[in-house]
Symmetry: C2
Subunit: 292 residues, 2 copies
C-alpha cells in the first residue's frame, strides 16, 4: 500500500514511518524540515503549499497526516502559526485527498476534549478546547471529517494520548526531566504533580496508524490512549530512581488541559488496537536510548 506521511521529520512522524516500513507499506515522507528515513522516499515540502501537498499525494492510497504545530508552548506563543499549519494545512491535505482519491488518517489528540464532563471520556464526549493547540487540532480534524461527508474523502481521526518514546523533542517533559536529572539538576513540576496523563508509547501509536490505514472504516474517530494514568510526580520518580536528583514544585501553568480518563474501548473493538507497552517498560527503554 502506497502512503504519504506528513510531519515525518517529527518525533511521532518518524516513529510511524519506521513502523509502517517494517509493516510492508510503501512510504513517501513529507515535511518542511530536512529529513531522511531509510527505506522511505523523501519529500521536502510545506503543508501550506497546497500544490506541494497535492503533488506528493499523487498515486498514494492513503495520507497519514501527522504534520502540525505539535508543540503546545509554540502554539500558545503563536496562535496564527498554529492556525495556519494545523487548520489550513489540514484543509490542504483534504483537498489533495479529494483530488487524488486517497483516504486520510489524521493524528488528532485527546486534548481536543478540554474540560472533562464525565469520569470516562469516550469519542462521544463534547469537545471544548480552550488553547490554540487543541483548538486548531480539533478544527483540522473537523475539516477532514467534513471532507468525508461532503467530498467523499474516507477519513479516520485518531485522538492520540500524550506520546513518548525515542526521538522526543528536547522540550518535551520527558526529555527535560531526563536531561536535568542526568546533569544532577532539580526537576521542576508545575502544580503539585498530581495531574496525570495517559502516556502512550510511540510504538503503540504507530500500530494504530497501521490498523487505520488497513481498515475499511471511515468517518470515524478513535481514542488511541494507553489506559494507565501516570501522574507527573510518578514520571519524575521513575526518572529520579535511575538518575537521583531533587524534585521541585512550582505554580501551575495556565491553559494546561485538566486530566481525564480517556477510554480506547472503541479502538479495541473496531480496529483491534490495544496498547502493548506499559509505562515502566517504555520509560526504561526511553532512558536507555535518550542521547546524553
Amino acid at each position: 500500500m502506497k502512503i504519504l506521511v506528513t510531519g515525518a521529520a517529527g518525533f511521532l512522524g518518524a516513529n510511524v514511518v519506521r513502523h509502517m516500513l517494517d509493516d510492508g507499506f510503501d512510504v513517501t515522507t513529507f515535511d518542511k524540515a530536512e529529513h531522511a528515513i531509510d527505506g522511505a522516499e523523501t519529500t521536502i515540502g510545506d503543508l501550506l503549499d497546497a500544490n506541494a501537498v497535492k503533488s506528493a499525494a499523487e498515486g498514494k492510497e492513503a495520507i497519514v497526516h501527522i504534520g502540525a504545530i505539535g508543540d503546545v508552548y509554540l502554539a500558545g506563543e503563536n496562535p496564527a502559526l498554529a492556525s495556519s499549519v494545523n487548520v489550513v494545512g489540514s484543509a490542504n491535505v483534504a483537498a489533495a485527498a479529494r483530488e487524488t482519491g486517497a483516504k486520510v488518517v489524521y493524528a488528532s489528540t485527546w486534548e481536543v476534549y478540554g474540560k472533562p464532563l464525565a469520569d470516562v471520556i469516550t469519542e462521544e464526549h463534547p469537545c471544548e478546547p480552550d488553547h490554540p493547540y487543541n483548538i486548531t487540532k480539533l478544527a483540522g480534524e473537523r475539516i477532514l471529517l467534513a471532507a468525508d461527508h461532503l467530498n467523499d474523502v474516507p477519513t479516520i481521526a485518531l485522538r492520540l494520548g500524550t506520546a513518548y518514546g525515542p526521538g522526543l523533542r528536547p522540550n518535551s517533559v520527558f526529555r527535560i526531566f531526563i536531561d536535568r536529572a542526568r546533569r544532577n539538576e532539580a526537576i521542576t513540576i508545575q502544580g503539585d504533580g498530581s495531574q496525570f496523563r495517559q502516556f502512550t508509547h510511540a510504538d503503540d501509536i504507530a500500530r494504530a496508524f497501521v490498523l487505520a490505514c488497513r481498515s475499511d472504516l471511515r468517518a470515524e474517530i478513535f481514542n488511541i490512549v494507553a489506559p494507565e494514568p501516570v501522574s507527573i510526580k510518578q514520571l519524575a520518580e521513575v526518572v529520579v530512581a535511575r538518575h537521583p536528583t531533587d524534585i521541585v514544585y512550582t505554580e501551575a501553568r495556565p491553559g494546561d488541559v485538566e486530566p481525564a480518563v480517556v477510554s480506547s474501548e472503541k479502538a479495541a473493538s473496531s480496529l483491534g488496537w490495544e496498547p502493548k507497552v506499559g509505562f515502566e517498560d517504555g520509560m526504561g527503554r526511553l532512558m536507555d536510548v535518550t542521547p546524553a
Copy 2:
C-alpha cells in the same frame, strides 16, 4: 469610543459601521475590498497580513471583528480559504488586540452548534460543527476567547442568527428569491421548505455590537438571534405575495445545518439586547430597497 470594524465592505459589516457611527462611535474600517462609508476612516487591508491588522488597531479601544468568509458555499468549495481567513485572520486580530490593548467583539454564528441536541439552544449547548464554514467560524471564536484567558484580551463572541437586511449579497437566499420572483422566474427551495431559520435583521444585530462594545463583560458568548422561527417556505411566500411566481421544491443540499430554536435570553438579561424588527416588517423594508 475609537473602534476598528473588520469586514466593513460586507453586508453585515457595512450595516454595523453605519449604526455605530449613528451611535457616536469613532469608526475606522478594515477590509480587503474597496469600500467607503461616510463618516468612517477607511483602511484597505488583508486579515491575513498580521502587520496590517496590528497597525489598523493602534489606538483603538475595541475591534469589532466581522471580516470572514461568510459565504457558506464558498467556504464549502474552498475550505483552505475559509480556514485562512476565519481562523488565521482571527488569530491575527487576537495578536493585534493583545499588542494594542483593544477589546474584541467577534461575529460568530448560531451555526457553530451543529446538530441540535436539545429543543432550546443556549450558549451552553455543545458545538459540533460539520462544515468548513461553521468549523472555521467556531475555531476563530475559540482562538479569540483563548486570548481572553491566556493573554488578557477582553473578548465577547456574538453568535448571530442568519442576518438579512439592505445590502445582502446577491447569492443570499433573500436576494435570490426576490430577484427571481421579480423576473417572474420560479423560486427553488432545497428540501420541502419546512426547515426554518430565525432570521435576524441587520439593524438588530448592529445594536448588539453597540451594546457589546459598551459592556464591561468579557470572556462571554451571547446568542443574538431573533426568536421567531420562519420556514424557507414562509420566506418564499412573503416574496411571492408581493411578486407573484411559482415555488419549486428540489432535493435537500448536503451540509445544511439542521434548524433549532436558539435562545437569546442571556443577551437580553446581560446585555439588554432585544430584537425590534419583526420578520414581515423587515422583509417589507428589504423588498422596498432591494435594487432591481
